[in-house]
């Protein structure tokens, strides 16, 4: 039972990659549907709507990032290290902000992106503004990423 630390840590890493990835997949998917609709009317807008479609895709990458840092710190990638149960649980907790906020914010951001896609369909000159609306949502994913990164990096130094 004393080896549970690494199990908890890996659950954390998996959750970060999993949930943020699911969020981004859903987000990019629904935004893609809207984008394809616009392109049927006007193929020239492909470049613009593609950028908007991609905006909810970053959460998945943030999740991957957290998962990767955790994996390399708990020794699954690279040199193996001893992880106590407490430390493992800390890693799990550290991954949660990115996991949950990643999932939710990607879906919500996708909805803002779809609204932006509709905006661009009618007024292509308003591209900048439509991007900003979606980027507003991403702020919270970035904040979650920040908390997760700082925690994960911080845990390594703890003597537990």
């Amino acid at each position: 039972m004393e080896n549970l630390g690494i199990v908890f840590a890996l659950i954390g890493a998996a959750l970060a990659a999993l949930m943020a990835g699911i969020g981004s997949a859903i987000g990019v998917g629904i935004a893609g549907e809207a984008a394809a609709g616009v392109v049927t009317e006007d193929p020239q807008k492909f470049g613009k709507v593609l950028i908007l479609q991609l905006l909810p895709g970053t959460q998945g990458i943030y999740g991957l990032l957290i998962a990767f840092i955790v994996l390399s710190q708990i020794g699954i990638l690279g040199t193996p290290v001893e992880i106590s149960t407490a430390k493992g649980l800390l890693y799990l907790a550290a991954c949660l902000p990115m996991a949950f906020v990643g999932l939710w914010s990607a879906i919500r951001q996708a909805r803002a992106a779809i609204a932006g896609i509709n905006l661009v369909a009618k007024r292509p000159d308003q591209m900048g503004k439509s991007m900003i609306f979606a980027a507003m949502v991403e702020t919270y994913a970035i904040l979650a990423l920040l908390v997760s990164i700082l925690s994960v990096v911080g845990i390594q130094g703890l003597n537990l």
Binding site: T58, Y62, F68, M127, G128, I132, M136, T139, I149, L150
Partner: protein, 677 residues
């Protein structure tokens, strides 16, 4: 850093020169014509009808070009959209304009040819359908309308399922005897099966003329039906005739296609045709705004101050027009044209996506440009990516000099952002992430890495966070400084003090005070300690700022209680400063994202070990991974730099709402007409 001063220009010209003056104005493209209310003795033309005609002509040209593209598409390079429009001199323009009617005919012929082609295709389809329905009758050697001879009657038709001749005869006999009585001999009939298939049997039945009604009646109860196709010819001959017609139609289509292809050489003329009518349309749109008198006409509009003298000189010398120029005042609400130096001008496109400066506002581009490049570079912060951006944008800019100006500005902006990215990459020691040390270790078994000039954010995230927020404070204070500048420019000293200086004191004092608190220093990992006096002074400054805001932010209200309440509400705005500063933590997050994702890909590449195979796989993973990483982080850096500018920076001072200066010009798609001198 400036909004270009506009002159309000009124041009009086004689009517016979109207066309020439309008054309000159259009080619010179310096005037934005405004609509003025009509005066007595002057009227305006209704040009809607003419414009719709031009629209039709332009769309015909466009349609012809599209058709031409289907048959012989022009070879276009990957970057052809960057090439910009072709240049035409005024002289060339007039020679080409003279050929417009001829080009119009070409366009019409192309469209007509395409139309005949689709008609022919429909005909082929129709004939093919008929052939299919005639095929089962192929072996019938009389016309399908054949009724019989003098003494005999022919019944041509089909049964709904597969039947043999014997079967039909047997059934006929059975039914005949049931209907007409057992003792009667069935009327003689001759049945010939012409074709059979699972679904139907085509038959030719012959009987005596006088038996026809009875025989047909009986056959009908067996399921016999007259065919749906009728032709007065022998089916086989009919099919052959259809086939001949189809061959002819196909040949005709080929000829038509050849014909359309032969117009390939006329493509340029069609492009010109399209531009020509777009231009005329625009001219007529302006014509509607022109006030027309009996002998003279009046045009009013805005012209940038630098150009108004030259325009006046030309119009009065060449066309004998009288021109009145006066500086435009804010009440005229002149359109906004920005003019910046080469360093700041590229960022104008970003400003445009937000809003042009409104009435009385300064152009923030040059201040914004500095921050834009720095923030963008920090978010991407990889020397190699930055270098790639510089090389890519530089090459494209060098290769396609005649690019549209908006595109050129955007690329130049990314070029500068690339320089900044490379700079921060060197500071933070990131070259394709940690590629250098990974390659050294995997393939040469050596520890080698390029040290960071400053520090490595991945190892010291707290330090980077503090730096990001410090930069954020500088950025926000820059925004406040812009507000201060505007207040001073408008000589609004009370606003300058209470809305800007007080905030400086409050936020600045608060930040400095925080730096004297040991707990905060420990948390942030800062090692210096400020003397206690500084802390006290900072607290006093913050207090003065807060008091100023509480007492004077609501100074527009007369009621003292209301005034204080308003002041307190304004003070509550300090939370927005807090969240603004925290928002700059994205600099750290996005910077780390670039670095760590790059590391992930390097690590993935190095997993295959050293050796030749390892090297090949490494290169593959490296190329794909870093392309992906660069693309996604470029997008992220662009979007979030914009956000920091729009929300955190502009939120402090900028409202926008100005109208962009869009001169009456030649807004064409393919050609650009250059005015001499």
């Amino acid at each position: 850093m400036a909004v270009v001063a506009m002159d309000k220009v009124t041009i009086y010209g004689t009517r016979q020169n109207r066309k020439k003056i309008l054309e000159a104005l259009q080619r010179r493209s310096v005037i934005e014509v405004t609509e003025e209310s009509s005066e007595e003795n002057f009227q305006k033309l209704d040009t809607a009808k003419a414009r719709s005609l031009f629209d039709k002509a332009a769309s015909a040209a466009e349609q012809a070009l599209q058709i031409l593209d289907q048959y012989a598409s022009e070879k276009k390079g990957l970057f052809s959209s960057l090439e910009g429009r072709k240049q035409l001199s005024a002289e060339e323009y007039y020679t080409r304009a003279a050929e417009v009617d001829q080009s119009m005919n070409v366009a019409k012929e192309i469209i007509q040819a395409e139309k005949s082609k689709s008609e022919l295709l429909a005909e082929i389809q129709r004939r093919e359908n008929q052939i299919v329905s005639l095929l089962p009758w192929r072996n019938l050697d009389v016309p399908m309308t054949f009724e019989g001879t003098k003494k005999t009657a022919a019944l041509i038709g089909l049964f709904p399922e597969q039947q043999s001749k014997e079967n039909i005869l047997a059934l006929y006999q059975e039914h005949f005897q049931r209907d007409e009585g057992m003792e009667k001999e069935p009327y003689p009939i001759e049945v010939q099966v012409i074709s059979q298939s699972q679904e139907q049997t085509c038959v030719f039945v012959l009987c005596r003329m006088e038996d026809k009604a009875v025989v047909e009646q009986i056959l009908r109860t067996l399921g016999f039906a007259r065919p749906a196709v009728f032709t007065s010819m022998v089916p086989n001959a009919r099919i052959e005739r259809h086939q001949k017609k189809i061959a002819a139609a196909k040949k005709q289509i080929q000829e038509l296609e050849e014909g359309i292809r032969s117009y390939q050489t006329q493509r340029e003329k069609l492009c010109f045709l399209y531009d020509y009518y777009t231009m005329r349309r625009e001219k007529y749109e302006v014509l509607e705004k022109v006030r027309q008198g009996k002998r003279i006409f009046i045009i009013t509009g805005f012209v940038p101050h630098m150009q108004s003298q030259k325009l006046e000189a030309e119009l009065s010398a060449v066309y004998g027009a009288a021109v009145e120029t006066e500086p435009a005042s804010d009440e005229d609400n002149p359109p906004v044209l920005l003019k910046n130096n080469a360093f700041a001008a590229p960022v104008e496109t970003v400003l445009e996506t937000y809003s042009m400066p409104g009435r009385g506002e300064v152009d923030p581009t040059s201040v914004m440009a500095v921050f834009y490049y720095v923030l963008f570079g920090l978010m991407l912060s990889d020397a190699a990516y930055g270098l790639l951006m510089v090389i890519g944008c530089g090459l494209v800019l060098h290769r396609y000099r005649n690019m549209e100006s908006g595109m050129k500005k955007t690329l130049t902006m990314f070029l500068y952002c690339g320089i900044s990215t490379a700079f921060w990459g060197v500071m933070f020691g990131s070259y394709f992430g940690d590629a250098v040390s990974v390659i050294a270790q995997t393939f040469f078994h050596r520890d080698f890495s390029i040290p960071a000039v400053w520090f490595v954010p991945v190892n010291e995230p707290m330090r980077m966070l503090i730096f990001s927020m410090a930069l954020g404070i500088v950025h926000i204070f820059g925004g406040l400084a812009m507000k201060l500048y505007m207040c001073l420019k408008h000589k609004d000293y009370t606003s300058a003090f209470f809305d800007v200086i007080c905030w400086y004191l409050l936020v600045g004092g608060g930040v400095v005070y925080l730096l004297t608190v040991p707990m905060f220093l420990q948390m942030a990992g800062l090692s210096f300690s400020l003397p206690a006096v500084v802390g006290t002074a900072a607290a006093v400054c913050a207090g003065i700022g807060a008091a100023g805001i509480i007492l004077f932010a609501g100074r527009s209200s007369k009621n003292p209680a209301k005034r204080i309440a308003k002041g307190l509400y304004e003070l509550y705005g300090v939370t927005s400063y807090l969240s603004d500063i925290l928002s700059y933590s994205r600099l750290l997050a996005l910077g780390l994202a670039t670095g760590v994702i790059a590391q992930v890909f390097n690590k993935m590449g190095s997993m295959f070990g050293g050796g030749i195979l390892g090297a090949i796989l490494f290169i593959l993973v490296f190329l794909i991974g870093h392309t992906l990483n660069m693309a996604i982080n470029l997008l992220g850096a662009y979007v979030h730099t914009n956000r920091l500018q729009f929300v955190e920076f502009f939120g402090k001072f900028y409202e926008g709402g100005g109208e962009k200066y869009t001169p009456f010009a030649v807004n064409t798609k393919y050609y650009q007409v250059k005015e001499e001198n």
